[in-house]
């Protein structure tokens, strides 16, 4: 393998004539004489000759672009649309000037690691030191990165979609894709000027294929981004640093001897911090500022109308029957559980699913008449208790509000419902293309009082101007609930955020709300905490959604179910306790924010007061 030690701007073309001379004992001067060859060539042919004005303009452009000094940040003057915060600029400087472009950016959540990485990338690009960059992020963040780099930094980043996309200069891809064939060879055979890996803590285990893949990449500069660099095990820290600067903490055995008492307990902390300060920057939130406004959560219990209740019971019966028929085969049953959840949302949602189910069954199936009965029941329902309550709430607050539902059909129904009550509501869903999403956001920012969304994980919906949120129905995955809340409850929100959970009594929904709200107190968790809790929980068996579905199907009666869910809640709670108490082991009173880390990191960055 060979690295070209030539400037990136012109060295990529082969066949250029270079002449090297000694300038200083340490430095060679290299002439690129391609211009001279071409000039002689044109003289011989008598042209073609270029325009004198353009000649002057080319020179002016180069003069404007010239990098005057090693130090000054050039990228700042080319970012007119946004102003990075001082700690972000400080971090970029440190990475560029003191760390030689290899660093772990470990700011606490919400301080803008992406911005810092963007600044470093942009600066290197402006200076012509980086041409080819690879950005590896979780699949769900690919588009967000592409958009940020394009919009904020004016960097033409491309999301990796097809094999040929690897040919672009700045590519954003998920590591799971990159490590697989046919991509693997292409990526490993490229010399990248800069590699950025987001959520780098996922690489901490060196036995994983992801880690081994990352270790094979060829790079000049490298940034690893993580909010939780040292969380469970000191070896993980060692592994991360080895990706970046092998030997920074000595060899594996030196490290163990010098810095580790137990895998969770460091020694010689001052020295360790010293060694870390050469590779890691961690800015923390200050204690002075109010970081976030409060979350005020209100559960709105609703009794179903008689018709609705009848439908719910009928569907529950139907699902149970199918489950018993299948002899406890869980995988095919998950979609049936959806039916039950849909009844709690709207008759439209359940209707659609039933129709699809009907289509799938064979003509003489005994299921068909049973489905038909359910459809009959749906027909008899004339009103939606939840929708009416929602309308009442919306009128009461008389401010912007975002309504979340899990189901397209419910969304359509609500749009219709609001329209008939002379209120403008705009939809938002994952399937919309970017342009339409932006348009919907503009409408909501403008005249529309209500936004009805089916998607919360989507990037780019930042709704700080709105502080009311109605959960028309709740996802079973707490992370998705957190994502919903995160849309409005974020930096820049100046008001307390009011969250309403609609909850139909005597249904599965009641259990879920009580689990999320009362048992794990989801709505009041510290931002970022839920990640850890769920990560541990799901190490057990299956995702929380699957477990809930199983409980629901297997429970004999309502009391049984209640008890099971309560147990689930307790185990979540226990994990939460563990997460917090492991933090307690190393908790230093001087710095409450380092509590999730095993090593004090207060010397590795600055404290930033973030005000809403």
């Amino acid at each position: 393998m060979s690295f070209t030690n030539q400037p990136q701007m012109s060295s990529t073309d082969t066949g250029i004539s270079y002449v090297t001379k000694k300038l200083h004992p340490l430095v060679d001067l290299q002439y690129d004489r391609s211009w001279f060859d071409e000039l002689q060539n044109r003289i011989a042919k008598g042209g073609p000759w270029d325009d004198w004005t353009l000649y002057q303009l080319a020179m002016e452009a180069e003069q404007a672009r010239r990098i005057e000094s090693f130090e000054q940040l050039q990228c700042l003057r080319s970012l007119p649309d946004f102003e990075p915060m001082p700690h972000q600029i400080g971090t970029a400087r440190k990475v560029l000037h003191e760390m030689g472009g290899r660093a772990i950016l470990a700011d606490e959540v919400g301080l803008g690691k992406t911005i810092e990485a963007g600044l470093v990338l942009k600066e290197y690009m402006v200076r012509g030191l980086v041409k080819r960059a690879l950005i590896l992020v979780p699949a769900s963040l690919v588009l967000q990165w592409v958009r940020e780099l394009n919009q904020k930094f004016g960097i033409s980043a491309v999301a990796q979609k097809k094999e040929y996309t690897w040919g672009y200069d700045v590519v954003v891809a998920s590591i799971d894709t990159a490590k697989r064939d046919p991509h693997r060879e292409l990526v490993l055979n490229t010399d990248y000027d800069l590699i950025i890996i987001d959520e780098a803590h996922k690489l901490k285990n060196k036995k994983t294929t992801n880690y081994q893949f990352a270790n094979l990449l060829r790079k000049k500069y490298c940034l690893l981004l993580t909010a939780t660099p040292i969380q469970n095990d000191l070896d993980e820290l060692f592994n991360l640093i080895t990706l970046l600067k092998p030997g920074q903490l000595g060899g594996q055995s030196d490290f163990a001897a010098n810095f580790v008492v137990d895998k969770r307990l460091p020694k010689n902390e001052d020295q360790l911090q010293e060694a870390l300060s050469g590779v890691m920057i961690r800015n923390r939130r200050g204690d002075g500022g109010i970081h976030f406004t409060k979350r005020l959560v209100r559960n709105v219990p609703l009794a179903l109308s008689e018709d609705e209740k009848a439908l719910y019971d009928a569907v529950t019966g139907f699902v149970k029957e199918r489950y018993d028929e299948s002899g406890g085969d869980l995988s095919s049953m998950l979609s049936l559980v959806t039916l039950q959840r849909e009844v709690c949302s709207s008759r439209d949602a359940v209707f659609l699913t039933l129709v699809n189910l009907f289509k799938k069954t064979s003509e003489d199936s005994p299921m068909r008449p049973r489905i038909w009965e359910l459809v009959e029941k749906i027909k008899s329902i004339k009103a939606n208790t939840k929708a009416e309550k929602t309308l009442e709430l919306v009128k009461e607050m008389n401010e912007k509000v975002i309504i979340f539902t899990e189901y397209r059909a419910t969304q359509e129904y609500l749009l219709q419902f609001f329209r008939t009550h002379n209120m403008t509501a705009v939809p938002y869903r994952g399937g919309m293309n970017r342009g339409k999403k932006d348009w919907m956001m503009d409408l909501f920012r403008g005249n529309a009082q209500v936004l009805i969304a089916t998607e919360a994980g989507g990037e780019g919906i930042n709704l700080q101007f709105c502080h009311h949120m109605i959960n028309f129905d709740l996802p079973w995955n707490p992370m998705r609930v957190e994502q919903r809340i995160g849309r409005v409850h974020r930096l820049g929100q100046t008001e307390d955020v009011k969250i309403y959970n609609l909850c139909t009594l005597g249904t599965i929904e009641e259990h879920i709300v009580s689990l999320l709200h009362e048992k794990i107190n989801l709505f009041e968790l510290v931002i970022g905490e839920l990640d850890h809790i769920l990560e541990r929980f799901e190490k057990g068996d299956g995702s929380i959604e699957q477990r809930l579905a199983r409980l629901l199907l297997e429970a004999g009666n309502d009391n049984d179910l209640k008890q099971q869910i309560s147990e689930l809640g307790s185990s979540l709670n226990q994990i939460r306790g563990e997460v917090q108490s492991t933090a307690g082991d190393t908790l230093t009173s001087s710095n409450p924010h380092s509590h999730e880390l095993l090593i004090h990191t207060d010397k590795l960055g600055q404290t930033v007061e973030v005000r809403p």
Partner: protein, 316 residues
């Protein structure tokens, strides 16, 4: 480059490439590109290869180029009154679009609108301006020019002597893991071998044209182009040798330090490795060392921004 400089730059580019400016203010241009400018700026290689192959009349694009966003938007707001009159119309548009959306899915832009005039904000660092810079460079790299005479010579039969110069604008890059740049402009008289610095500035004070003026004779070149090149390079080298290379010393020291660190990590690893994985670890070791050299090794490179042959009055 501030807004004014950008504006002036754009204006000169559009003039030089013979684009037709439909509308302009101190903050913007609305411009229909000339075929040459369109080829450089619109990223439509397929379209142009189609035009070239079919020999059809090209339809060039029209752009709104905003050189001062704030000023432009202030102006746009003043025109709000006018746009309010169109509000009713645009509501119609929206209704149309909504209807179309329902049947076709989302349709980009408004179908009811006229010709699309994309807007580009040109500020220092913006992609479109970068593209303009690059376009200027590709079409402004090699020139062959003659100085125009200030005044007609008194005698119709007398002839003024001209000297040919090799002029070159050099970019010098000083790089390790960081980088800075300098620009040096040299001119060498092909008659005498005289070498001057800041040659470009001297040219800027002259009137130059691609055509040989009348009543002029050109002194015979006393040296070859290669000799001239050597003179330029020698002059540059002399200059660069006088510089302080403390930065390179620092970079080399860092490089050594980093190499030692890597060695400290990999050498025990290599010697303890079982036979079958030894090769892989050694390869990785070599790779890491190469990466570090790539990152830190100090180097200076000189390349030309652009160059040309200039025929100037007098014998130097």
């Amino acid at each position: 480059m501030n807004e004014k400089q950008v504006h002036k730059f754009v204006n000169r580019y559009l003039d030089a490439t013979e684009c037709s400016i439909l509308e302009k203010s101190p903050a913007h241009f609305t411009v229909k590109l000339s075929p040459n400018a369109d080829r450089e700026l619109t990223n439509r290689p397929y379209y142009w290869s189609f035009v070239d192959r079919m020999g059809t009349e090209p339809e060039t694009m029209t752009y709104l180029l905003v050189t001062d966003k704030q000023k432009y938007e202030a102006m746009a707001n003043e025109n709000e009154a006018a746009s309010k009159a169109r509000a009713a119309e645009s509501e119609m548009d929206q209704a149309t679009n909504a209807a179309l959306n329902r049947s076709l899915g989302f349709v980009h832009g408004s179908l009811a609108a006229g010709v699309r005039v994309p807007r580009e904000d040109l500020y220092f660092g913006s992609r479109k301006l970068e593209q303009l810079f690059d376009a200027a460079k590709t079409k402004g790299s090699f020139v062959y020019l003659f100085q125009e005479m200030d005044k007609k010579s008194p005698h119709p039969y007398s002839s003024s002597p001209y000297t040919a110069w090799l002029g070159v604008n050099m970019r010098v890059e000083f790089a390790c893991d960081r980088k800075r740049e300098e620009i040096h402009c040299f001119g060498v008289s092909l008659a005498t071998g005289l070498c001057v610095e800041q040659f470009h500035d001297r040219l800027l004070n002259m009137k130059l044209s691609p055509r040989l003026p009348s009543n002029v004779h050109i002194t015979r070149n006393g040296l070859s182009y290669n000799k001239a090149l050597n003179i330029v390079e020698a002059a540059l080298e002399r200059k660069l040798k006088s510089y302080d290379y403390g930065w390179a010393g620092d970079a080399s020291a860092r490089l050594e330090e980093e190499l030692a660190r890597i060695k400290g990590y990999y050498e025990p690893l290599v010697s303890n490795a079982p036979g079958e994985s030894k090769a892989a670890i050694e390869e990785q070791f070599a790779q890491r060392q190469a990466e570090i050299r790539w990152q830190f090794e100090p180097r200076v490179t000189a390349s030309a921004i652009n160059c040309g042959i200039f025929h100037l009055e007098g014998i130097d």
